[in-house]
Subunit: 204 residues, 2 copies
DNA sequence: CCACTGATGTTGACGCCGTTCACACCTCGG
DNA sequence: CCGAGGTGTGAACGGCGTCAACATCAGTGG
């Protein structure tokens, strides 16, 4: 780990991204520094520039991509959990199932941000647009489509519904991690989250 | 402005905050640098540290306070506007008036953030808690109280209502300025804003 | 098998940043 | 008038992002 045998590293780019993700997880954006990371890998700083032509910003975008991908995966997983947990009656494809999935996605979003505030911070601030397979917003849109298909949401109220729902959940996550709601005890967090999800569900 | 007559500046602290606010307005947090600002005022960098003992962070908090104060003022002003514009029938103190004020505050919040993204960014990221007279959240809470008083919102649903509403509006503002909704054309912005306000109003 | 070429890594430098310390100056109260 | 304390200066430190010139390696065509 400390020194390497060969002159070439093998896969410096991947190693840098990995280290940058680790740094972002504890310390957020400020902890992602090219010099430090390169030194940590036993490599000169300029070597990093070979792999990230636009410098630090490129690296941050790469970290952000990882963050968005993990977030999207978490959302999908929690939605699947919600489906699985419902060995209760209502068959999939029903309105209550759609509602359950929708709620699960919102809850998972906030849960992820509380788990990984640093990664989420970088993911938000350095985004060069959607990339296929790593798109949290896409997951949310799918949930909205579910709501429409099952008749929970009127077709004509569909427009911008995803954006509005996203705004509420995203805003709550931001307020809870970087914002003034930062120091809320977990039980109060839970109540606020529940309240927000209620608002979205009954207000959309 | 370029050179000063006296050895002492007079009010360097205020001058630094003013310059920092100007810098933050165009360029956001990254543009607020002690060295640059001090130099711009024709003063050595270390002089700034006399007035901001904790260094840059102190200055950013000061800028944030200005931002929060301006935001709170804007909210109050737009609420007053809404009251004034309503030379239409419904008297103040009615449910529709409370709804109008509530909506005006949400709209004003987003409006301010779009007007002053840099200032808002600093205000969010460097917050050491509420300071009296400069508290946007307090304005929102007053609006909620209005809703309760006029019977729009049930007493027992009051808990965390302000937080949920705030989350929605704040999240929308963040998505519209720093986030993925950044490049939305103004007319679509307006639709999303309206949709979000609808969601909050009917979902609270 | 070898020389060339392009990819990869190194060394050293630049300017900017935040921060600190020892020192100079100016103002004001006693 | 003098001394004390608030205010500003100069110089320095380490760290950062970035770049250009040079060194080294790995694979490919002759």
């Amino acid at each position: 780990m400390t020194a390497r045998a060969t002159y070439h590293h093998g896969d410096l780019k991947a190693a840098l991204v990995e280290a940058a993700v680790a740094a972002a997880r504890e310390g957020g954006e400020a902890a992602v520094g090219l010099n430090r990371l390169a030194a940590g890998l036993g490599v000169s700083a300029s070597a990093a520039y070979r792999h990230f032509p636009e410098g630090r910003e490129d690296l941050l975008v790469a970290v952000g991509d990882v963050g968005r991908r993990r977030l999207a995966e978490r959302l999908a997983a929690r939605i699947a959990d919600a489906d699985a947990d419902a060995d209760a009656e209502p068959a999939p494809g029903t309105a209550t199932a759609a509602r359950r999935r929708f709620r699960a996605s919102g809850r998972a979003y906030v849960e992820f941000v509380l788990d990984e505030p640093g990664l989420f911070q970088v993911a938000n601030r350095h985004d060069r647009g959607r990339l296929p397979g790593a798109d949290p917003f896409g997951v949310l849109e799918a949930c909205i489509a579910d709501l429409v298909d099952t008749g929970v949401l009127d077709e004509d109220r569909r427009t911008d519904a995803a954006a509005a729902a996203w705004a509420a959940v995203h805003g709550l996550a931001v307020l809870l991690t970087e914002g003034p709601l930062r120091r809320l005890p977990p039980d109060r967090r839970e109540r606020v989250l529940e309240r927000t999800l209620d608002m979205v569900e009954s207000g959309l």
